[in-house]
Subunit: 345 residues, 3 copies
């Protein structure tokens, strides 16, 4: 899918400085790019590599372009320009429409003529597969589930009964949508299962990572907003609601009935307890645990950085005796600084 530099510039509303007729065949990093490749710089720490890159052209801001003598494609946001140009130069090859002979598709499933159902896939009766949808090898679409136009299920994706996936979504291998929520009532020492009767409803342009699991609602639905991006191995419990354009990194766990606003970001391995609410534009750092609602936008954190183990052993031991240290400080204050009484804690 080669293109001239001028053509690429048009695609990203950019400007060429240099040879507009140069044919570009692919994208590459500054280090590995050759004369038919286009690279980009958005992080200043890579600017030094401009001196030595063999790239045919580089996507740069106006300012950074001054530091480069080769062909430049000048845009406001080089990372964004790169994303669009890379997608154009390296399109995913789509399988031909149709149902693979090894797929097990129920006669009562509604499947668009332009959809492709891959080998070993299973589609049950009452499922609806939209136009241009790719159901990859080994996927399982249960009865009553609906997959919106243009969505791609890479492979071995499971979408359980009655769940709804929007348009132009991308679900990676091992993703599971609509597993039962973890709900029980106690009867003596025994846990009695509470049937999980809600659905999962996923908006448009959502990406769901490999081995990520999203539980169906207990009575109402679990809802994933438009444009939400979920990395690998995330767990989303029943009745959670995630606002549009929120991005969540790998290994995050979100407990039941919590509500996350729009445009939030949650760092890797962070956790949210259940039944809390985060407003729009909240950013949780990696490894933090959110234990109560957050009512103001901003960054939140509770993680600790690793230090040499011997040092940490002493610090942690001190921490576990912090109550005692505080009492000792209070005793000193009482003895020698009666005016500090206000710190009577």
């Amino acid at each position: 899918m080669a293109a001239t530099l001028a053509e690429l510039a048009r695609r990203v509303h950019g400007r060429v400085r240099g040879d507009p007729g140069l044919v570009i065949e692919g994208v590459a990093s500054l280090e590995s790019a050759g004369p038919r490749d286009i690279a980009y710089v958005s992080d200043p720490k890579y600017l030094a590599q401009l001196a030595t890159t063999a790239a045919g052209a580089v996507i740069l801001t106006e300012t950074d372009a001054e530091r480069f003598r080769g062909n430049a494609l000048i845009v406001e946001n080089p990372h964004l320009g790169f994303a669009r140009i890379a997608a154009g130069l390296h399109p995913e090859s789509a399988p031909a429409p149709g149902i693979h002979p090894t797929a097990a598709v129920d006669g009562a499933a509604r499947i668009a003529a332009s959809a492709s159902i891959g080998p070993q896939a299973v589609v049950e009766g009452g499922a609806a597969i939209g136009a241009g949808v790719q159901v990859g090898p080994g996927c399982y679409i249960a009865r009553g589930a609906a997959i919106g136009d243009g969505t791609r299920l890479v492979a071995r994706v499971v979408v359980l009964r009655d769940c709804v996936i929007g348009r132009n979504c991308l679900l990676h291998p091992g993703a599971i949508v609509g597993s039962d929520g973890f709900g029980y009532a106690k009867d003596g020492e025994t846990w009695i299962k509470v049937p999980q009767l809600g659905r999962v409803v996923v908006g448009d342009d959502v990406e769901i990572g490999a081995n990520t699991t999203i539980d169906r609602g207990a009575l109402n639905d679990t809802v994933i907003g438009d444009g939400v991006k979920l990395d690998n191995q995330i767990q989303i419990a029943h009745n959670v609601r995630i606002g549009a354009h929120t991005a969540i990194a790998a290994c995050v766990g979100i407990a039941g009935s919590s509500v996350i606003g729009r445009r939030c970001t949650i760092g890797g391995q962070a956790g949210l307890v259940g039944h809390i609410e985060l407003v729009d534009d909240v950013h949780v750092t990696a490894g933090s645990l959110v234990t109560s609602s957050i009512t103001r936008p901003g960054a939140y954190s509770s993680s600790l950085k690793a230090v040499p183990a011997e040092e940490w052993r002493r610090t942690a031991a001190r921490l576990h005796r912090l109550e005692e240290l505080a009492r000792r400080v209070k005793r000193l204050e009482e003895k020698f600084a009666p005016s500090s009484e206000e710190h009577n804690t």
Copy 2:
């Protein structure tokens, strides 16, 4: 599966206040319920919704029923009553017995006539599938494995060689039972695999969540007791033993050879190191790390709650210098409070 209110009351040993002949078709939340639905209240914070609900009937305690003018089904434990009524009104539709033509079932597998083997499933020789078992689409039951009567494997569940699943269990998509434990011997800088020769033995009435993994024992077995409930994405290492009726929330990791008692609860993302023992009735809060045996029932915790990141940055920096702060307090004590010598730490 509609039923009259009187019928529902009999099922849960409850009492009707209002119209016993009212036909109920389904369960719903107070908010969304209509005149043919039954809802419930167990958390006092939802009592206010009783004034506005359109539910045909509500499951309530004797006391709470006084605050509701509509049809009430009065029980001791409304959550438990709801669980049972929901299961009766909304039964899972079971597939017809038999082996789907796309399943690959070895002739030497023993499969009960009342069992169903779904599309694309694989059952190897020597596997035993009990009465009424549902092996869902794409499941893999390896040689020598046994699945007890009435158990349901939803889809893409893997049960590896010789592992045993009890009766009336429910295994969700992506669950893996019997993967190799992580065991190696060192030979210079090289890790030499220690063959993992034990099994996983799962009791009756166990639920195993989506993408949860349970490793087989190294020499002896990994054992999951009766009535244990495991949420999604839990990792259970080789030789772990979990006592009956213990419930474990999502994303928990349990390292090798640890033993957990009966009726314990482990919060989401908590971790247990290997070779420790927890007595019965231990409760570990979400995100905590258990690093040594727990010999007394009760709640245990070590997690920290997220606060504004700037505030946390300062607190964490202080924490990492806690050793120094303690020394400063000691110096003050030595100078001004010689009687505090007992705090010589």
Copy 3:
């Protein structure tokens, strides 16, 4: 695969004390071993069991052998000797070469005659499957992927387009190699996907645990070195590089572009943020979060151990007010110990 004690001794360069002609049929733990089994002791805490074991023979060090009156196989490293003997006595049964009739194998895939492709597996065109490879039930090998000689994919393993797996690797069920990295450029509030064009390249003798996910590189490759051992449910993001013989326990998350040295060990549930580097021989304890590069070998930690919840509640509350405690100490110092001014923090 029974063998005499003399034969076993030859395999591990050990020495028999006792009956060299004793026939051993299997390995077992000291507790459960019978007269045809061989057990081992490497941890001193099990030495006491030597008095009561019914094992036909025990693998021991020279020193420990003095505490045992039965047949001994004396080696320098009993754990290592046991690993090798167990592998010999209990070989994995390999399926016969050939392609199962239910597998969907593209005619343009190159498959060694000695390889076996299991039921319901999918192999796309341009994939290359080496000699003796076992592609288990339900695996998916995408176009252009290559699996090295002697490697075993247990079941439901996914290897995506163009990824490379080395020789003699072992991939457990649910492992996913080559899912897209989590890369986006921002356009207003919308995330625009950055195509993930690199591969995953896995060396020889690598083990990848159940439901572990390894993302493909964005432009360059994600690289897993020779002899690396990855436990279950690990997440490795795009462009990560892991040095040879590093072992990583379950539930670890490693963010994008981080580089880990050789012979490192990472404890369970630990996390590494992105774009950092760990030198060789770094050991991170379970549950710790590495937030910056580590330039010296050694052990690193930041995890906290669970204590009774009520005690922890007080300690954590104190921690969140540590800034205030530090100010109080400073005030005391200023008032009563002007010579302590150097602690002006």
